[in-house]
């Protein structure tokens, strides 16, 4: 359907389109078979809504408000976790928790790398030869050392 029709469709369907706009709208419908067909179908479905109007009076009974208040008073008190039952709120909490864990995890891992003691260099080992537990360990350290 063309933009000129979509723009004025609602006013056209409710019969409230001003004369100039109505003339332009109808001129387009005359020229465009596709829009004409679609608008006709939409008019038909709009006409069906009349069956939902004028159902006759439906007066609430005198006890209705009291009954509503009684029902809400009888509801169990909300537990503190009840907001989590709301799907949207729960989703936000889960997302916030995951984000927090991701940030904390990143911070902790980076700190661990920063504070991890560096393995002793061979020069430090040789200089400290007296306090080394044994020569075997010194050899292992020397062979596995990576600068």
């Amino acid at each position: 359907m063309h933009a000129v029709i979509i723009e004025d469709l609602e006013e056209y369907l409710s019969g409230s389109l001003p004369p100039t706009a109505l003339h332009r709208f109808e001129a387009h419908l005359d020229a465009c078979g596709q829009c004409r067909e679609e608008v006709a179908r939409m008019q038909e479905s709009a006409g069906l809504f009349a069956s939902l109007k004028d159902a006759g009076p439906a007066v609430p009974p005198p006890h209705f408000v009291a009954q509503v208040m009684q029902n809400v008073a009888a509801r169990p008190a909300l537990a503190f976790w009840n907001p989590l039952r709301d799907f949207a709120f729960g989703r936000q909490v889960v997302f916030a928790s995951l984000l927090t864990m991701a940030v904390l995890g990143t911070v902790l891992v980076s700190r661990e790398e920063a504070y991890a003691p560096e393995p002793p260099t061979p020069a430090a080992l040789i200089a400290d030869g007296g306090s080394a537990p044994n020569t075997d360990q010194m050899l292992v350290t020397l062979s596995s050392y990576e600068p």
Partner: protein
């Protein structure tokens, strides 16, 4: 002009409406009432029920038509309003929000009733089902009333094929008689957005009607 004007002051038809902001609504008398209800004040909630009970009843009656069930559904509507009012964000008016809840409760009721009916029918034998389906009505009904009921059932089937928001907009426009301008004021959406949403909703109705007409036995929902 919208028929909700008795409950909420609306601008006269044809006047320019400035977009109502959330802050504007918060500062109204009704905004203050909602905030009191959100804080748990029972008197405020009672005031809301008293104010909107008639409107809720007439919306339900327009859709459901079974007088016995109207009150039950209305009870469920206000129970939902009570539980959910903390989530009301003032983007739309309170009556628009309650209207949406009411329409959704009606469609939930219709869907459950259809399921119960199908279960009941499955307990009948084939001959019994055929006899029930072909039975002449036992009461004389006015042909116009029959036609109206048939149209109502048909449009309700079509409406079950659109989203909740689209259903609400269509009903506010077609049943309550709101203009696009008034819908913008009530829902907090801008007019172009409403036009596009209504257009898409109408396209879906047309498609659903074409499908139903091709397969009359197709049960929507």
């Amino acid at each position: 002009m919208g028929t909700l004007s008795g409950t909420l002051p609306l601008p006269a038809f044809g006047t320019t409406v400035s977009v109502r902001t959330r802050v504007d609504y918060l500062n109204t008398q009704e905004g203050a009432l909602v905030r009191r209800a959100q804080a748990g004040e029972e008197a405020a909630f009672r005031e809301i029920v008293e104010k909107y009970q008639s409107k809720v009843f007439s919306i339900i009656h327009g859709i459901v038509r079974q007088r016995n069930d109207v009150e039950d559904i209305a009870q469920q509507v206000f129970a939902k309003v009570y539980v959910s009012i903390r989530n009301f964000d003032f983007r739309s008016s309170l009556i628009t929000w309650i209207y949406k809840i009411t329409v959704n409760e009606c469609f939930d009721y219709l869907r459950k009733r259809k399921v119960r009916k199908l279960v009941y029918e499955s307990d009948l034998s084939e001959d019994e089902v055929r006899r029930v389906e072909n039975a002449e009505p036992t009461v004389d009904r006015h042909p116009a009333a029959d036609q109206s009921l048939a149209s109502r059932d048909y449009v309700l089937k079509l409406l079950s094929r659109v989203s909740e928001e689209e259903r609400m907009l269509l009903m506010l426009k077609e049943v309550e008689g709101y203009s696009v301008e008034e819908l913008a004021a009530q829902t907090g959406m801008n007019e172009n957005t409403i036009k596009v949403k209504l257009f898409r909703a109408r396209q879906k109705l047309v498609k659903a009607a074409q499908r139903l007409d091709r397969s009359p036995g197709l049960v929507a929902g």
